[in-house]
């Protein structure tokens, strides 16, 4: 494994940053609109577009191929929308149908292209899993223009997109056209996918539309902050993917980028404020508090039959009331001053413990 930061690697890195920027933005909208699978369908639908563009022009410049991909992606989206609106099929079915039909046809075309002797070196198959090394300086120019388009539109239509996604009906009653806003958003989604195809590939590009915002949402509570974090996550994984794949021989870029962003999602799922670890800790703390409370209320119930409420009882009596509490919980209550150890297994409430127990019982009933 050797890493040489030479000119082609720098070009790939700039590409990765542009992909991170655009997919980080679009990812937020896709995830919040609960349309993350639309990105998957668009990316897969791009494959036949790439192939047809090549077959028609026999030109393998990314500019030509990506134009084909964009047209196919848009046509795919159009079909999906039409199926949802005009037929009784639901969205997931429409997405599945278009994804498999387009991608199947694309694979067929790709196999055919491989059989044309002059086309064997077209490098088209690299669009399946992506190869950041294939990005040229001229591609960076196009990618930058498209990225500026996405960033600019997001800034211009910030409030429109936010309101459209949060409450489309209200958006309409404010005199806006949800159809127009949706259309702009879909065009931007298609563009951001096209930007990523060369580096990430058609198969895994959807991960860049789903993962960055999924992770960012777990950390941030406002759309702006969420979007910035989403961009940071996407860019980080893009850079890491490019560096790793240029250091390791024949390591494809797309899967490497996606592995890194997936790790970010997993780490976020576990460690974020909404994450599983916090939830687990909170649950444990609650359980412990409930167990401590129940020791106090049980001791109180037992002592009620005596004139003296501090009367100690053998802790094994608790067997009848539920569980015999472990020693460490009793010691915790003792150090808090709620109970005292009479002898061996016998414990009783202190005066502070009595009033605490009464509080607990009042809260429960």
């Amino acid at each position: 494994m050797t890493l040489v930061i030479d000119y082609p690697v720098i070009i790939s890195l700039i590409g990765a940053i542009l992909i991170g920027l655009t997919s980080g933005i679009i990812s937020c909208y896709s995830v919040l609109k609960e349309q993350s699978l639309l990105g998957d369908a668009i990316a897969h639908a791009a494959l036949p577009g790439l192939c047809i563009a090549f077959l028609l022009t026999l030109n393998k410049s990314p500019m030509v191929l990506l134009m084909g991909a964009m047209s196919a992606g848009l046509i795919g989206t159009l079909f999906i929308t039409a199926i949802i609106q005009k037929s009784i099929l639901k969205e997931d079915t429409a997405l599945g149908v278009i994804l498999s039909v387009f991608f199947g046809f694309g694979t067929l075309l790709l196999t055919m292209i491989q059989k044309i002797p002059t086309a064997r070196q077209s490098g088209l198959e690299e669009y399946l899993f992506g190869n950041a090394a294939s990005i040229l300086k001229s591609d960076i120019t196009i990618m930058s223009i498209l990225a500026i388009l996405i960033v600019g539109s997001t800034l211009l239509f910030w409030k429109e997109f936010k309101c459209l996604i949060f409450d489309p009906d209200f958006f309409q009653t404010q005199g806006f056209s949800p159809r127009k806003a949706n259309f702009i958003l879909i065009i931007l989604t298609v563009i951001s996918i096209i930007i990523g195809l060369q580096s990430v590939g058609v198969i895994l590009m959807s991960a860049m539309i789903i993962a960055p915002a999924t992770a960012a949402r777990l950390w941030q509570k406002k759309l702006g902050a969420m979007m910035i974090l989403s961009i940071i996550f996407a860019t980080t994984s893009g850079i890491a993917g490019v560096l790793l794949s240029s250091a390791v021989y024949r390591l494809p870029t797309g899967p490497t980028i996606v592995t890194v962003i997936s790790l970010i999602v997993i780490i976020s799922l576990i460690f974020s404020p909404q994450g599983l670890l916090r939830q687990w800790i909170r649950k444990k703390i609650n359980q412990r508090a409930i167990r401590l409370d129940s020791i106090l209320s049980n001791l109180y119930t037992l002592a009620k039959t005596h004139d003296d409420l501090t009367h100690p009882h053998d802790i094994n009596t608790f067997n009848v009331l539920g569980e015999i509490p472990p020693l460490y919980l009793l010691q915790k209550l003792e150090s808090d001053g709620f109970i005292y150890n009479h002898k061996n297994n016998e414990w009783g409430l202190t005066n502070v413990g009595i009033s605490k127990a009464i509080q607990v019982l009042q809260r429960v009933h």
Partner: protein, 249 residues
Amino acid sequence: MKKDPTEIAVSIKDLTVAFDKKPVLWDIDLDIPKGALTAIVGPNGAGKSTLLKAALTIIKPTAGRVDIFGQPIKRQLSQIAYIPQRNSVDWDFPTNVLDVVLMGTYGDLGWIKRPGKKEKNRALNVLEKVGMETFYDRQISQLSGGQQQRIFLARALVQNAAIYIMDEPFVGVDAVTEKAIVTLLKELRDQQKTVIVVHHDLQTIDEYFDWVFLLNVRQIAFGKVKNTLNEENLRLTYGGRHSFITAHP
């Protein structure tokens, strides 16, 4: 009812909405008077929400027209503040209370222009009116049902519209919030605003509202609550089932 068109806030004519040939609303003719509280009442599936949405152009009607103060609705949207059902949005959306209320100023701003200091002050003012001023930077996912409804109400109030259209505002809110909302609605009415509410609690119609529209796909009756909300009309609206749900005379 007066026939002077300026006194009619919302005029609905021959409105029919059908999904796949199944009529959800059938030939509705309705003139809602200005400066009154009007309830729209009917059983589940009667088309109450659909009526609101068709009147607001959210749903395209199969036939019919809606006029606001004698003008076609398309040109009059800014006169109307819509308060959708609380559960129609995702309250986990990453935004805060002030941002949601500011959405009520978007219509005035139009495309691209962002809300500024003036809009923020307006939003803070209405938050005070609904008793939520201290919550302005609160994450919306942390609000209770009653607070969510107050936020929606604030978002409508900030529009300073002439007509307020609400879809089931009292669902899942506590009694205190319900009373607070009713007080606000009555204040609006007293300022000559028109308030139209989809309501499902027959017990409170006569306490809260001036006019009532009874609907079950077709229109059953419309008029002042005391003349309209009677046994006969309720039976026509709810079929035989209304005796289970109301003790109203």
